[in-house]
Point group: C2
């Protein structure tokens, strides 16, 4: 992509309502733009990141045998009355009437719809498990939307629903999804923990959250310093202040607890028969008896991961993207685009790097070098090459790694090797 043709409305103004670094940086770097309280547009550079997260999650879901579908955002109220959540869900559930005065809701989650899909088809219990997911826009009418896309009202979520004939099957489906999440989060490459959690309004017996560790996180989690144990402090025992948990023996007997902050980006639930009973989703089991199915549900906040990544990886001057979800892998900063030989050399390097499979940005704008450098640092692109009048014909270039701002002089082949190594 040539920067001169790219719609990246960066701004120096910070939004007055921004408390978090991610919110400020996403606005300033032209990733998102607000349309109403808690309602954002994803602009080109932001959407590139969102789509990369989406695709990593999609590939992981597919390779763990979940199948993609697309459910509607507008859902009939009658389904929510059947599940008895029409009133229980509270005011986050946005209700309205269509032109025929029929009651509808804007889907904050899709347990009701998936049950309705599943129950109408004549499937044998032998064909279970079935696990269906979607990546789709959700709406939750938050009382206090804030932190940009971190706590917005309209957002992109991956939600999956598994159906099994018994508890053993559910446990297998749940473990399978947990492994899919681990694969996806490992691929994204952020520091995260799997945390014992409270099932809350969704319901069910067992649930775990995936948290990205960041000082600005809203959740407090207690982590063992010498095992995998981690739990949301909500489910642990303490008297007044969660910091009491610091230094306590870990409940799994291994190591001491340490309280940290996390951002919840995934949540998996063993729902059991809660929905299948109310929505009448049953099949004949091995013995020929009609049996309510065992359900699991599994969510990932796609848009929230984008913000959480920035919370975990940024510095005073801007974003630092991991390679896996960076909007571009490398930015070629052309210092004198008006000079034909310099621009041509930049375009050569651009084509070479594109051919080797990298997402390349070429900053060919006629702007001062200082502006280009500071925008580059704010945008958080992992690597850059600086090509100007002094080095365009020397076959080696100034190559910079955004994380740590490490600079070196390298040939194009050395740059390609370095990128492979560091990605």
């Amino acid at each position: 992509m040539y920067f001169s043709k790219f719609f990246v409305p960066t701004t120096k103004q910070e939004p007055s309502d921004a408390e978090l670094a991610s919110h400020k940086l996403m606005i300033r770097s032209g990733m998102i733009k607000k349309t109403a309280s808690g309602i954002y547009n994803w602009l080109p550079i932001g959407l590139r990141v969102l789509k990369k997260v989406e695709n990593i999650v999609r590939e992981s879901m597919n390779s763990f045998d979940a199948q993609e579908i697309l459910m509607p955002m507008v859902q009939p109220a009658e389904l929510w009355k059947k599940s008895e959540r029409y009133n229980d869900y509270g005011k986050e559930l946005l209700k309205f009437k269509d032109r025929s005065e029929r009651d509808f809701v804007l889907g904050p989650t899709h347990e009701e719809v998936i049950c309705d899909i599943f129950k109408s088809y004549p499937i044998s219990y032998k064909e279970l498990p079935v696990n269906l997911y979607q990546i789709q826009t959700k709406f939750r009418d938050e009382i206090r939307p804030r932190f940009g896309v971190m706590r917005s009202r309209e957002f992109v979520m991956k939600d999956a629903y598994s159906f099994d004939i018994d508890q053993d099957g559910l446990i297998k489906s749940y473990e399978n999804m947990k492994n899919a999440y681990i694969a996806a989060f490992n691929k994204i490459g952020l520091e995260y923990r799997i945390v014992k959690a409270d099932a809350g309004v969704i319901g069910g017996d067992v649930s775990e959250e995936f948290h990205i560790i960041a000082d600005s996180g809203e959740d407090l989690i207690a982590i063992s310093d010498s095992s995998d144990f981690a739990a949301n402090v909500e489910v642990l025992d303490y008297k007044k202040d969660p910091s009491e948990l610091n230094g306590q023996e870990s409940p799994d007997g291994h190591g001491k607890l340490q309280v940290k902050r996390g951002i919840e980006v995934g949540h998996i639930f063993q729902l059991g028969q809660k929905y299948s009973e109310k929505m009448k989703v049953s099949l004949k089991n091995e013995k020929g008896q009609e049996q309510n199915l065992y359900m699991g549900c599994y969510g990932i906040g796609i848009s929230r991961i984008v913000a959480a990544s920035i919370e975990q990886n940024h510095d005073d001057i801007g974003i630092i993207w991991p390679y896996s979800i960076a909007p571009f892998h490398i930015n070629i900063i052309c210092l004198d685009p008006k000079r034909k030989e310099v621009l041509e050399e930049c375009e050569n390097v651009y084509e070479i790097l594109k051919k080797s499979g990298h997402d390349v940005l070429l900053d060919n704008r006629d702007l001062r070098a200082g502006i280009k450098f500071s925008e580059h640092e704010m945008l958080g692109i992992p690597f850059s090459i600086i090509i100007g009048p002094n080095n365009y014909n020397k076959n080696h270039y100034e190559f910079t790694v955004r994380s740590g701002n490490v600079k070196s002089e390298l040939t194009i082949d050395e740059i390609k090797q370095k990128m492979e190594k560091l990605k």
Copy 2:
């Protein structure tokens, strides 16, 4: 994909409200499932087709310099009041209040939001044209939703919006988008015509529609038999019955008109300054004068193309997908999956065809051959290979082309060549 693990709830029951072949076949083949009047789920096999259409359109938009963004479905009423469409748009515009009693609408189209995005950024007229698009869920509260996803209330649309400093620029942006549409529709490979049209409620001076020709189409279009001329009969002159136009001289002086039926799947508009004036989207022009921008808008009904394709290409027994958007390219029908050698040979062929880049379905279900054949024909997968106890070890297979049901005996290499040639 192994059919035994694939959620394809085919059914013999036709929906009672179905009038069109596409509606019947999409329900019967398990592509879609209704949740409420005009509100459908896309199930795995349907979503595969939808995503293929989406990706062809996306690639075409990108290669004609449009940039992808994502706008919200929930839009503040105040924007629609500014454009004066809050009342003008009629009851298709679904209105509601959020928990703070603020007025919102569910976006049927995004001219207001895109103006609001565009106007807030300090861009020079020299950086124009800018063309931004999205592929997103829309809602229109149709008074009579019908024909399945053809006239649904919630649907997937690609909408694009161009901004130019003057009329000449707009005409160039419009022609550019027209070429992007031609590229996309050629790639999809359906018979279509570009039709002069009425701009209707969207407004503006010039507009053209892209119609897929099909006997069941709702629109009447008059087509010249010896030139490119085509027009929606709405914009032509006739007294009582559009069939009067049959045999008339074409308005472009070339050939005679013939009235056909079409399904509108794309619409491009030169909006001019209609929205920029009301929404105050202006820039300083070359002379330093503040100037309302010239806008174009460009829509493609992604979900509608799926149904229109079926309307154009089906027979008494089922769907016939063009290769470009087929959910799978080839179906390996295993006649005796319980016999180890037969299943292994099917799996060999499956891996070979997958490696050569085809989307392959392997029907390994333990069902009667007749059921598998008739489901295969209903699903409309372009090619099939039948492997059973009589031929699994003979190095040539029964290969069938769905269109015309042409059968031949071929080796695996001949099959690959044939698929390349026919795709």
